[in-house]
């Protein structure tokens, strides 16, 4: 499954890179892209573990940039 999310208050380009690196290492992630300029997270992961991965991804985002929130469309 592939989904696009909005990242609000994503203010640091370097952090976007770190988020991408962190989420990529999660088990079950097929592909991930954090676009600093369009403030979008594209996550492609195994269907059955998607929600779990998304939860972990949110944790990583909070850890790297606490003000940044992931909006589910």
């Amino acid at each position: 499954m592939k989904k696009v999310f909005r990242l609000e208050e994503l203010d640091c380009a370097h952090c976007a890179q770190k988020m991408e690196d962190g989420i990529r290492k999660l088990d079950g992630v097929i592909n991930v892209q954090v676009n600093f300029l369009s403030q979008k997270l594209t996550l492609e992961a195994a269907d059955e573990r998607f929600d779990e991965i998304l939860k972990d991804a949110k944790k990583i985002i909070k850890k790297i940039e606490p003000d940044c929130t992931l909006i589910e469309k």
């Binding site: 370097h14 770190k18 892209q33 600093f36 300029l37 790297i64």
Partner: protein, 628 residues
């Protein structure tokens, strides 16, 4: 400015005023008598401007983010304040406040610049229709385009954006396709025409039967393509990513060494020289963030891709932009790229009757055929009736024989004439020759050829002025035709008599003849040449509006078939690469210079802040030039 930015601006002004006040109080009233009192006076503006940085720094340590910008700034400024407590050291309080102030100002500028570029890019991308109008229970209602399914009939009012691809069922209008093609000339749309989402309806109400769901409609595909283009990263971007990973830890490590190692070798004693080296080390920390590069390089590419799509040029990734800038060989498919791809009558040579009589006879004979040649003949003369045409026989590879009005008419190539015992000769002419004979008597011939695009010659000479050294045409035509077209357009060479499957081999031969760093672009229309598009360093598809296959196979897509856009695309690519190089050289150069100067203690801390955020702002402003 956003609310957050206004708040920061207010804090900057307040803290700047208080800093000046603190300096005055320090110089006139305290005069260095009480260290604690001086500290207290400076801490007021320091906390006003820096409390969020300090807060984030603490939070980041808890979260295990050691090399974070906030933390580094906090360490640098708190460190500067602490130096005041060393015996015999000069207090650095005003510097600490000033550095924080400068940092926040830079961050504010950066945030405004990023916000501005984000807005310009999203304005470019604002081609997505919000509503579709559909009739439900006799009433026209506005609904989400996502809820419309294939087969529904939607209404497009004047001024509306067409929300989904479809076929016009009633009404006629002109459409502004500029959002898709960059072409300002409106297109007409009438019943039976296919219309594409993203176009603006200019003059009349249309009803459209939807042929594609919203997610697969042209506008959604274009947006998806541009948005996911970030995944195909250029070499410069990959370099920056790798660089950013090692740069910060390396500078922090160097700072630690710089602070504590040199004092060991000092003759004046460890503690006496430590403050001086500590300040130099703290200066290191201030410039340890690679922000200028991390923001500006992707911004340059993103801006260029956005700006290009506004002109009707879709680029599927910054790597293709980078490659396009290095292309020196252009290989073209002939049909549909250099020529219009539609056949037309270009010459009529009649032995006996009037020219249009001959044409009419030929068109009548071929009136039942769907062959491109028959279509060209029919479109050359009006009102051809086929009522008196009987006994039509298509002889594959030869032509057609039919009974027209009681006469036996033959229409076809030289072989057809010869096999019927008619003497005719092949004229030395470019194109397809159709000989006509009636009742065994030779009447003459009609030449049909594909028309060269009027802009082709200009486009090729434009490419040559841009330093494209080799322009090649691939075609299935026979050699004489191919060579005359090559000459007419001003190409360097051509490969003729190619079957569709030979084209990949021809391209590979061209590519292997060159040095590896020289790149080859292939330009085609996506019909029959998808494998060639994929094989080239850069595959460029033309006239791709509505052609999914071309959009799929190509790396760069020209939405309309304006061949002159090739030079526009090259210029944009080269400009972008130049800007990226400038930014990399500028940011690295300034940082390296400041790092070296601060080893020797020549850099005041505020200059280091400039090297950090100031350079980032300048680089962002430079990167934004790609949007234009």
């Amino acid at each position: 400015m956003s609310k957050k930015q206004r708040k920061t601006l207010f804090r900057i002004i307040l803290s700047a005023v208080l800093l000046i006040a603190a300096v005055l109080v320090d110089k006139t009233l305290i005069k260095g008598q009480s260290l604690w009192l001086t500290l207290a006076v400076y801490l007021v503006p320091y906390f006003i401007i820096g409390y969020d940085v300090l807060h984030n720094a603490v939070r980041n340590i808890i979260n295990g983010q050691v090399f974070d910008e906030n933390l580094l700034m906090a360490v640098a400024t708190v460190g500067a304040i602490c130096i005041g407590f060393f015996p015999e050291a000069e207090p650095q309080y005003p510097e600490a406040v000033f550095v924080m102030l400068f940092y926040q100002t830079g961050e504010l500028f950066q945030s405004i610049a990023v916000g501005k570029s984000r807005r310009s890019i999203s304005a470019l991308m604002d081609i997505c229709p919000d509503v579709a109008v559909i009739e439900r229970d006799g009433q026209l209602i506005e609904t989400d385009p996502d809820e419309i399914s294939v087969g529904d009939v939607i209404t497009v009012r004047v001024g509306d954006r067409i929300p989904l691809d479809g076929v016009v069922t009633s009404g006629s209008s002109s459409l502004d396709t500029s959002a898709l093609t960059g072409e300002s000339q409106p297109r007409t749309a009438k019943v039976g025409d296919t219309v594409y989402s993203g176009c603006i309806n200019l003059s009349g109400v249309l009803t459209v039967e939807v042929t594609k769901p919203f997610g697969e409609s042209t506008v959604s595909r274009i947006l998806e393509l541009v948005e996911t283009s970030g995944a195909n990263k250029s070499r410069s971007e990959n370099f920056i990513t790798k660089f950013a990973r090692v740069y910060t830890p390396a500078v922090v490590l160097a700072a630690a060494v710089l602070a504590f190692l040199p004092p060991l070798f000092s003759s004046a004693g460890y503690l006496a020289t430590l403050p001086d080296w500590l300040i130099r080390a703290l200066t290191f920390l201030v410039i340890s963030c690679p922000c200028a590069l991390v923001i500006s390089v992707p911004l340059s590419f993103f801006g260029a891709i956005g700006g290009a799509s506004k002109k009707g040029i879709l680029i599927k990734g910054s790597n293709y932009l980078e490659t396009l800038a290095q292309v020196d060989t252009f290989v073209f498919d002939k049909t549909g790229t250099l020529t219009k791809g539609t056949f037309a009558v270009t010459e009529i040579k009649s032995e006996t009757e009037a020219q249009d009589e001959l044409l009419r006879l030929a068109a009548k004979t071929e009136s039942h055929s769907t062959h491109p040649i028959a279509v060209a003949l029919r479109s050359a003369c009006q009102n051809v009736t086929s009522t008196d045409v009987t006994e039509v026989r298509e002889i594959a590879g030869h032509g057609i024989s039919a009974n027209v009005n009681g006469h036996t008419v033959l229409c076809g190539n030289l072989k057809l004439m010869n096999s019927n015992g008619i003497t005719a000769s092949e004229p030395d002419i470019v194109g397809t020759v159709v000989h006509v004979a009636r009742n065994g008597e030779y009447l003459g011939y009609i030449v049909i050829s594909d028309e060269i695009k009027p802009a082709a010659g200009v486009a090729i000479s434009e490419l040559k002025t841009l330093g494209i050294t080799d322009t090649v045409m691939l075609t299935g035509d026979r050699q004489a035709t191919a060579e005359s077209i090559t000459k007419a357009i001003g190409l360097d060479r051509c490969f003729s008599d190619l079957l569709p499957e030979d084209k990949v081999t021809a391209l590979e031969r061209i590519m292997s003849d060159k040095q590896p760093h020289r790149k080859t672009a292939f330009v085609g229309d996506g019909i029959n040449d998808a494998p060639v598009l994929m094989r080239a360093d850069v595959g460029i598809a033309m006239g791709a509006l509505g052609s999914d296959a071309a959009i799929e196979a190509a790396d760069i897509v020209l939405m309309d078939d304006d061949i002159k856009k090739l030079s526009t695309a090259i210029l944009m690519a080269r400009k972008t690469i130049a800007i990226v190089r400038q930014n990399i050289a500028f940011a690295l150069g300034v940082k390296a210079a400041v790092l070296i100067l601060s080893i020797f203690g020549f850099t005041p801390m505020w200059l280091a802040v400039f090297a950090d955020v100031g350079v980032a702002v300048i680089a962002i402003l430079n990167a934004m030039r790609t949007l234009r």
